[in-house]
Amino acid sequence: MSPVIEVRDLRKTYGNGDTAVHALRGLDLTVEKGEYIAIMGASGSGKSTLLNILGCLDVPSGGRYLLDGIDTGEFDEEQLSLLRNRKIGFVFQSFNLVPRTTALANVELPLVYAGVRRAQRRERALAALDLVGLADRTHHRPNELSGGQQQRVAIARALVTSPAIVLADEPTGNLDTDSSREVLGILDRLNASGRTVVLITHEDEVAAHAMRTVRVVDGRVAGVLV
């Protein structure tokens, strides 16, 4: 069976000429289905760039990225948006919920773009919110929720489409200890139920939840701790 993520010689350069910044310099990474991986690295090491490319939010300058066996390099923006919708669930450090919109509507959002019917959409969104323990907060708007609750809504939104991978960019970076524990607990449960999780973190305690930790230094993978 092919790996969920297969990255070969991935490069990303910002700008050009003398001012060019090489964020990724030929990075290789393979993530098998059902794995739970933590990516660590100093700021500026390229780990966020890597995750953005894995989430199809950004395109690499060179190298190959196979997602679920599909070469994303051949895709145009329209097909990439389809990939983001069907294969990827992204959790951001700053939650990134649509403001002035209820938790339920936020979780339904990816399903709307997937063309899922209203009744089924509602059912799946409610199930996802239930999974993150927010069944009683469905009609609250982001500004009526705590940081931890907002992040759980964001996770519900990431998993509602049953994506091949869940990517999380420092999901606990803006949260207090209790909320962090809840969020990490949810990610653990997700992984336990067979979903592939890749997260970025600064903290060793967070990385401890993962099966293995990938260390990124200067745009390359420096070492893998199992």
Partner: protein, 396 residues
Amino acid sequence: MRVFEIAAFAVRGLTANKMRSGLTTLGILIGVASVILLIAVGNGASSAVQQSIAGLGTNILTISPQRAQPGTTAKPLTTADATALVGADSPDVKYASPVVSAQATAGYGDTTHDIGQFIGSDPRYFDTTNSSVAQGNLFSDNDVQQARKVVVIGSTVAAELFPGTDPVGKSMLVNNIPFTVVGVLAAKGSSGLQDADDMAVAPLTTAQNALTGYGSLTQIVVQARSADALPNAQAQVTTILNGRHKITDTADYRILSQDQLLTARTATTETFTVLLASVAAISLLVGGIGITNIMLVTVTERIREIGIRKAVGAPRSSILGQFLIEATLLSLFGGALGIAAGMIGSQFTIAGIQPVLVPSSVLLAFAVSALIGLFFGSYPASRAAKLRPIEALRHE
């Protein structure tokens, strides 16, 4: 189904900022309403002019002096010309009334009034212009011969100078010369740009004595024996006048039939309508730029939201659609309200003109307002759609 969902996003986007949406709508509302209203006013003016000319009757020719060609001197139209037009050489001409007109200020007691048109002519003038007397009498041929200072006034003049009293028999001052009012004409109503009742008619000789002097006549109004005889009458009049004025090339006078008069006047009011419509179109354009502005602000303000939508898989087309629908809804809503405002406004008399709604202008204004939304919304919307997800998400 997807379109419906995207439209729902658009509606939610608009209702999230009601004040701003409302003000943008107002811009379009004013534009559309003024297009409809001003076209209706122009149209009302031209139909009023048409009615007043149609009231002249179909057997009338109007002769007016025309500026001479360079190198020649124009002969004035005279009373003698008018007299010569009736005779054995012109069997189809029933009568020819010489007409002079001037502006004059009339006074009675402490009241003064600027009369729109002070006309000097003979008693047949009333017949040819379909004027009938409401109070008192018309003046007679004898009054003309004797140059008596008598005057028949229109209903507006009567109302302005003699409110609540019977003007007949009263003496009023016209440019400080006393005239006796012998009659009041029945009201004809407003004729587009001018009030047909704001006038006074005196005997030709009196008017020339007191006001205009003995220069060229303003007009000679010729009445043919019948409408069918009009072409013959015109030919006879032309022959006689050419002879009297020794015309070989270009005439120093102009003969207009009622049809031609109608065409000429309609052309004038059409110019007027076009002018009004273009002023209105500019305000519609300004409203459209308002939409662009607001949509650009909206897009900039919601770049993060666009990033979020893209991150969860919104294709470019749905972002484009959402913002286009927002812009179009704004302009359609404004357009619909503007049509309502224009239709209500056209029920009232504006500057003496009863506006006449043009159904096609309503349709046009509505279509234009919808297109404005699409056109002016497309730039901000495509900017929103083209954003790379990661750039949009990083935007603060």
